[in-house]
Subunit: 285 residues, 2 copies
Amino acid sequence: MEVYLDCLPCILRQVLESSRMSTDNKELHDKIMVEALSKLRHYRSFQNSPELCRDISSIVKIKTGQTDPYYQIKQRDMRTALRLYPKLRSFVDAQQDRLHWALKVAATGNVLDSAVDIGFDVEKALDAEVSKPFSICDTQLLEQQLKTAKSLLVIGDNAGETVFDSILLEQLAHLDLTYAVRSAPIINDATLEEAQASGIDRYAKIITSGCDAPGTLLGECNKKFLNHFYDADIVISKGQGNYETLLDCDRDVFFLLKAKCPVLSTLLSVDLNDYVFKFYQCAQA
Amino acid sequence: MEVYLDCLPCILRQVLESSRMSTDNKELHDKIMVEALSKLRHYRSFQNSPELCRDISSIVKIKTGQTDPYYQIKQRDMRTALRLYPKLRSFVDAQQDRLHWALKVAATGNVLDSAVDIGFDVEKALDAEVSKPFSICDTQLLEQQLKTAKSLLVIGDNAGETVFDSILLEQLAHLDLTYAVRSAPIINDATLEEAQASGIDRYAKIITSGCDAPGTLLGECNKKFLNHFYDADIVISKGQGNYETLLDCDRDVFFLLKAKCPVLSTLLSVDLNDYVFKFYQCAQA
């Protein structure tokens, strides 16, 4: 999907936040903002917002030498998620339709997004968020495909959300599971470190996508990931960044996310902050 | 006060909103955004955000020929405020300390700010907003000065807020009152048209400041305004834009506003969305 104009102020806000996390040097903040504004002018030469966001984020890395500005935030979000894990797992275990609620818990993990709202209090909002129904709910289609499926790939999104995803993976543990993360730190997205610390490896093989944008740019992904992506019987893509980069891709995908910005909610024809589990059927498939 | 980096994404968001209000032509939206990004890079050459915002807004005016993009929004906010007026006036009339509550009502009018949040439902929030106390409350200092004062100037802010201000002016009607507005439409700020439609002229002489930025850049103000500004015994300045441009000016000013963004709340050492009635005493005065 193209770069939406609404993304530009949002990316600019995010690069400022990231600059301040990386250094207290105000002269550097100024230099980063001027360069970010220069680069943002060329937004039309980017395929989508995650690609633009990656390039803008690299300015912070180059100017400050800080390769992982959100490290502390990711650690905080991981601690929060791990604290919530026993409660969420008991909740899913107590349900009759465990798969549906495990999907809902994994979608709820998508609120752990410090790139969108660093101050969001997930513990306070948890019960309301988990019980909020999906606006688009293709669970039945997934159940149908699970009858014959042998392998499933989940493409992860944010740090902390990974812990919520492990609850979904547990419900799918009879399959050959793979869980993909970004190849390098980018904003608050999960990397190998957070996936491992989330216990994902109890249920799934963890791989990197080869992409260091906050999404999945297939043209940049490594061979191993692409093999899993095209060979897996089912792919579940988590979060907005993966949606923006995989929408209209050349295979079927289930998208599991919370529509946290007006661009996404409009595209999906849902209300802002709605939960979505949507099956995208590729025309070529 | 200088241009704060946090203002840049906010101005960019606002120019996009304003572009869409002015035209449906997406090519023009693109052209406006590219030019806005180019101009924003030079933010350090602007004295403050209202000055920068004026220059960025002029791009929309030049590219689309639309000189008053917020006209419909201002009309909507005026209708809302006029509908609320009888309730607000009765509320103030019923108070023992009418001046204090008239100040609070006028400050509450500052929530009518479609440049900050176009979807804010003021009617729904009104009771809670009016009853929320000031975080900084220099009413006693005003009362003291009112004992000897003969003239008072109010510098208005947004359309609709002007109706709330008329309730404050009524309480000060024994003074020689002047009410100043911007000289030309800029975002949702009040001009002569809205001040007159708010019934301000029942209590005060309405003048234009000579400035068409969303604030009061004294270097650009007309002679008449400057005479009132320096000669009035008391000046009450409404809203953030006037605060940003008059902070550290060369006369005493009472600032009456709601701190609607983190930059302002940090500067004022209050919480976000707090109400403030703060006396600024000029060192030279």
